[in-house]
Symmetry: C2
Subunit: 404 residues, 2 copies
């Protein structure tokens, strides 16, 4: 099931509640990325503690390892990874597209060589739906082609972007059809499932993805086509693929307000804290990005007062936590910048863990603050304060030191 | 401070209570190894949850990275790694000895090239005491030379072992003297420290290490020499260095009962679950070993019913936890063998974490069971049941499957 309730708006920003087969999600929300079924360095318990309520799984990676059958046998992705709350899976489209010259895109689907063992593989809309059905994710995504920003240094032309978007629309139709057929033929064991079919309580949800590159009229055409097919939610794809930030903002601000008002809206693969605030301001409900987790492992920490590069020599003997005002286990637990820097330098797993806990806590707290701001009609004030705080900087001697 | 209370004996096995500056430790106990200040893959909170109450830190590693000064500035090792309970540090002697041809042992100390950057370094009894004093470990160890079992394929002769043991005795005297002097000159900030000096409440404890290779009369001579110097506890060193198991058992059973009755006894770097049971039976109170943590990361799991090699293909889709009867987060949390195998195969940090939690929980639970058995005077029964259970095997189809 998917039920989206729009609770409150503040400008374009939306405060909503998304009810899915495995639980309820307060929106806007950030979804930590669990590529191989685990959010890197985190346990399910820790994810719950920092306020995560929906995570993302990567269809492409899980299809290759350990494969669909074993996950299905263990009760779907929830049974496999012991995450009891909602899961969204991507379609694998972005990952095969990212293989570049190693893949060949045809009408039927994408041929590619497995990056694990070189096997020749084919991913199609139908196969992606079969995998996501076996994973039993609460939200599945249509299989699509991500329109590149440029190819071999040449900007994608409108004609190329249109061709790509049209292919994605045809794949969206095939995705929808297969998703429905699988729901009828192989009902999930979700609570309340009366036997499958769209609208049945136990049936999962399928989202369409708006493509069209940097061309607003193609974006409109894509959205119109997807709306005709019909989806439980809509995503904006093809952003954060190398385009200038102003193009990203232009497309976001054009598409987001045009998405159906009473369905959830998802901005895929975005982004920085600033991007999240910008996305919420434009009316986005769901975000995912590897940035907080990947950067954490590389010592790049996000805080209310700017980013902190933990491996900088200046923190070598600094006794302060990453952010003295933060409530995460790493900060409230009193682990110093000196200690976490040391752990990361000597490749101790705890170094990746503490940094990841902090970054995800920061992202999820930021979303929580935005939810409160929308509820109380103070989102504009929040945005101003957010930028002032973030620009203050944590790196200056007169920065966090003054807070101790 | 160090206060050891011998609560109960059952044969040679001892149930005791060790009170140190940072807390009380029920013995016999296993100490997880935190080489660089963190027990690999674990957080302090998780260590507490599985029942760890004392951990080991490696002087050699922490001296090289991040160095003594930064740890001292952050309040010693407890302040640095946020472990509020007791810590024992080794002396660095075993690590420099393990460098083999890269080090040169002289009367004054050990010259060696830093494995980090090639710097020429010198570790002496005095330097080791200075480092351990800065770390402020509850229990420091004397700097000693580990007598090799063999050198270039030749068994160590009694003359060689005697020479090595005598050097260790002279170093033990220098260690004791420096430890006392540092305690007087630079009192720790431990609660109850009236200004340092042996026997003062806030002063930490120093253990001597019995050496002498595979020769019982040299072991006796070493113990006699150490007893004359005087230590708060005694360790057996130079075992688990490549000798046959029967030699290890012979020396253990010879030395352990001869150690002072009313002081704690520590068997260094040992070992398997069977070794722990054997050690307790011989009267040992403290153990440390990298086996449970290192093996966990390589997919070797210890259970009551034998060891489980997690990466074996037979567990590929096995829905059972590592040990259905185990209460650790990995097992009681329902994480399947299939899932943890998958995590380890794709190098997910959570794979190392869950396996480490399980192995350490097993080790600490084994120690807890032995403490109860000694208290209730049923240690012999325990040992019989332990061996029966461990021999049953977890690998057979008729093994754990029957428990589900």
């Amino acid at each position: 099931m998917l039920h989206y309730e729009l609770l409150k708006t503040d400008g374009q920003a939306r405060r909503g509640r998304l009810t899915l087969n495995h639980g309820t999600v307060e929106t806007p929300i950030f979804m930590p990325v669990g590529t191989y079924g685990a959010v890197k360095a985190m346990s399910p318990r820790e994810l719950e503690e920092i306020g995560a309520r929906i995570i993302l799984g990567n269809t492409f990676h899980l299809w290759l390892r350990p494969g669909t059958e074993v996950i299905k046998a263990l009760g779907g992705l929830h049974g496999f990874n012991r995450w009891p709350h909602p899961i969204l899976t991507d379609s694998g489209g972005f990952q095969v597209w990212s293989l570049g010259k190693l893949r060949k895109i045809e009408e039927h689907g994408v041929h590619f060589a497995s990056p694990i063992n070189g096997d020749r593989l084919l991913l199609t809309p139908e196969e992606s739906m079969r995998i996501q059905h076996a994973l039993n994710s609460d939200i599945a995504m249509v299989f699509d082609e991500c329109t590149p920003y440029e190819t071999d240094g040449q900007l994608t032309t409108q004609a190329e972007a249109a061709q790509s978007m049209q292919l994605s629309l045809r794949w969206a139709r095939r995705s929808r059809d297969t998703f429905e057929r699988l729901g009828q033929e192989q009902p999930t064991n979700n609570p309340g499932n009366g036997g499958g079919g769209k609208g049945t309580n136990g049936q999962n949800a399928l989202f369409g993805i708006v493509q069209g590159g940097m061309f607003t009229d193609l974006r409109d055409e894509s959205l119109a086509g997807l709306t005709t097919i019909g989806f439980e939610g809509f995503a904006i794809g093809g952003l954060s693929v190398g385009e200038p930030k102003e193009d990203m903002i232009r497309i976001l601000n054009h598409v987001a307000p045009r998405l159906p008002q009473h369905k959830p809206r998802y901005l895929m693969g975005v982004g920085t804290p600033e991007d999240l605030v910008r996305g919420v301001a434009a009316g986005i409900d769901l975000f995912d990005c590897v940035l907080p987790t990947r950067n954490a492992r590389n010592g790049w920490l996000f805080t209310r007062f700017g980013d902190l590069k933990l491996r900088n020599a200046r923190w070598f003997s600094d006794p302060r936590p990453i952010d003295p005002g933060c409530g995460c286990y790493a900060c409230a637990g009193g682990f110093s910048r000196a200690y976490i820097q040391h752990l990361q330098k000597v490749n101790e797993i705890l170094g990746a863990r503490l940094a990841t806990i902090h970054n995800l806590y920061y992202y999820l707290t930021l979303m929580q603050e935005m939810r409160v701001a929308i509820e109380t009609g103070t989102f504009q004030d929040f945005v101003k304060r957010f930028h002032t705080d973030r620009c203050r900087g944590i790196d200056g001697d007169d920065a966090l030191g003054g807070n101790d």
